[in-house]
């Protein structure tokens, strides 16, 4: 009896087609959500929040974005790993091929964006290269959370644009409502104004810190004092100017001052401030405003630590979710209340008949456990298991 079973099993093993394995030793893990981490470097709450955000994006737009942080590339090139993983996971819908994979290999310090065949127009290879260039500074300082937040946001923005949907960027820094460049001298030409504003905009984009500039007339008090008082009242950006920067210039007195918020000042320290002062010396000598701002912004972007980007806000609860939640809560209280009532009745009855044993308690606990399992089943429901999307090898890679 044993022999045929063995033969049948062997025959089945030969017949059942094996999943397409990766080239040379890389074996992709199972896809069970929008963020897969085999490196153990991504915090659970980051995985959870970004996974939920990407799930909401997929439900509203159809585009499937998956983030994969791999512990190792197993000696394979990142292009091959990304392609094999994309193939195994089938990210995106069949026929539409509208999936995107963001692959990060912290061990090998490599990153790749692999685009499905259907999104090659929305995210060209050049654009994936741009996104990688934007997230690389975060990867260099091992800030995976910010890298993933920024990477997925940028991918979402471009995919959203394809279908005419504006994607909100929780970490976007905008110029303050009152203007980021206030010229009290009214002596700046339009071209200088535009140049200065471009520098400020670039600083804002690369560092995600708020910045403003004040050009003032002859000084009545020390420039540091002017800067400090203006900084306090100038709502440059979020978080009470904690991470903000204010540049103050007085062409009449040939003075230039960089005021950094407490968050930045604490990180900047005396040594770095000295270094920046030295770099600024030559420009201060010539007193060319555009050059001064260019050097100051470049130095600050280099010397100030990268801000950790905030996770996407949780998506609003839908009416259906609220209903399900209500039902679950009622069920829990129903079971607990009903059980207690039952136990109470049984206890009263058993005092009469002397038969109240552990069995009724068992029933109560079994019921409780069933409710627990049901809740768990809702939680365990896999976020994403892939569609039928294909990749044609599009995208871009980078080393960091």
């Amino acid at each position: 009896v044993r022999m045929p079973i063995v033969t049948v099993m062997v025959a089945m093993a030969a017949v059942v087609p094996r999943p397409p394995s990766a080239e040379a030793g890389f074996d992709p893990p199972k896809l069970e959500g929008h963020v897969i981490d085999t490196s153990d470097l991504v915090d659970d709450h980051v995985r959870f929040r970004i996974g939920r955000d990407l799930a909401a994006f997929r439900e509203s737009t159809g585009f499937a974005i998956v983030v994969f942080v791999t512990g190792s590339l197993a000696g394979t090139s990142i292009e091959d790993v990304a392609y094999a993983t994309f193939r195994a996971w089938k990210i995106g819908d069949a026929g539409k091929d509208n999936g995107v994979l963001l692959l990060i290999a912290p061990e090998e310090r490599k990153v790749r964006i692999e685009t499905g065949k259907g999104v090659g127009g929305a995210i060209t290879d050049l654009e994936s290269n741009d996104i990688i260039a934007e997230i690389e500074p975060y990867l260099q300082v091992r800030d995976l959370q910010s890298a993933i937040v920024l990477g997925t946001t940028e991918i979402k923005k471009r995919l959203g644009k394809e279908i005419g949907k504006v994607v909100a960027d929780p970490n976007a820094v905008v110029a303050p409502a009152g203007g980021d460049l206030i010229d009290e001298t009214h002596a700046l030409t339009d071209s200088v104004r535009a140049d200065l504003q471009r520098e400020l905009e670039l600083f804002r984009k690369t560092t995600r810190r708020p910045i403003g500039m004040l050009v003032t007339g002859p000084l009545m008090e020390p420039i540091a004092k002017v800067a400090a008082s203006r900084f306090k009242h100038w709502q440059l950006g979020a978080r009470n100017n904690y991470d903000a920067v204010l540049l103050v210039a007085s062409p009449a007195d040939r003075a230039f001052f960089v005021q950094v918020g407490y968050g930045g000042a604490r990180d900047l320290g005396e040594a770095r401030t000295q270094a920046m002062r030295a770099k600024l010396a030559a420009a201060r000598e010539r007193y060319d405003l555009v050059e001064l701002v260019h050097v100051a912004c470049g130095q600050l972007a280099q010397l100030l630590p990268r801000l950790k980007l905030e996770l996407p806000p949780p998506p609003p609860i839908t009416a259906e979710q609220r209903r399900t939640r209500t039902i679950v809560i009622y069920a829990i209280f129903g079971v607990i209340g009903g059980g207690l009532l039952l136990i109470g009745i049984l206890a009263i009855v058993s005092r009469r008949f002397r038969s109240f044993g552990t069995r009724s308690l068992d029933v109560f606990f079994v019921a409780l456990r069933a409710v627990g399992w049901l809740i768990g089943a809702g939680r365990r429901r896999k976020e994403y298991e892939g569609g039928g999307g294909k990749s044609g090898g599009g995208g871009s890679s980078g080393d960091y």
């Binding site: 290879d125 050049l126 090898g393």
Partner: protein
């Protein structure tokens, strides 16, 4: 006697022959159905191969279009020593001169010529990329870097298209060499010819990476 003979013959002649006839008709129909199915399968594999080839073709075209831009940017930025740029233009011209489709893909000689032209183009492209390493003004040039990124992307897409084409060819070639496929091929006058694999290595893979 005659009466008996007559009585005898009818069951002997008719009973075994009628089932025989039905069976042969049925067998023929079944065989035809099987042949038909096999034939359709071969056609399908053939069509898939053509589709995959079209992918390769599209990526090659993309690369042909990128090269003149790359040469233009390099020329505008630096004075290249030697004839690297001339060679690359020549290699591109000879590669674009050969355009394969349909029947050509089963012709080993034509495929060989095509693959040689592609290899030459890859070689001169790699040389260009290696040479450009020595010019810092190129490495800092945004247009050049953009083109290199696009070239790398195209090479990777080409690599995947090639893998997919070769996998399709493998299935197709194996199928027409199997007994069933062979019979159909012979019966229908050999319309299914084995295809030639596309084995040219990508250029960007061999070239040292450019520090962007």
């Amino acid at each position: 006697m005659a009466h008996r003979h007559h009585h005898d013959r009818t069951p002997v002649r008719c009973r075994p022959r009628r089932p025989c006839g039905w069976a042969s008709v049925l067998a023929l129909l079944l065989a035809l159905a099987a042949c038909h199915k096999k034939h359709d399968q071969l056609v399908e594999y053939d069509v898939i191969c053509d589709e995959m080839w079209a992918n390769i073709d599209a990526q090659l075209q993309r690369r042909y279009n990128l090269i003149p831009n790359l040469v233009k940017v390099v020329k505008a930025q630096v004075k290249f020593e030697g004839d690297t740029l001339v060679k690359i233009a020549e290699a591109r011209a000879s590669a674009t001169a050969i355009h394969l489709s349909g029947e050509d893909l089963t012709d080993p000689a034509k495929m060989e010529a095509f693959q040689q032209a592609q290899t030459r183009l890859n070689g001169s492209l790699s040389r260009l990329l290696v040479a450009s390493e020595r010019y810092p003004e190129l490495r800092g040039n945004q247009a050049f870097n953009g083109l290199v990124v696009q070239l790398e992307g195209t090479e990777n897409r080409l690599l995947r298209a090639r893998e997919e084409y070769n996998a399709a060819v493998r299935t197709y070639n194996a199928e027409i060499r199997k007994v069933g496929g062979m019979i159909i091929n012979d019966l229908t006058g050999r319309p299914f010819k084995p295809r030639v694999f596309f084995t040219v290595e990508a250029a960007a893979r061999n070239a040292p990476e450019i520090d962007l």
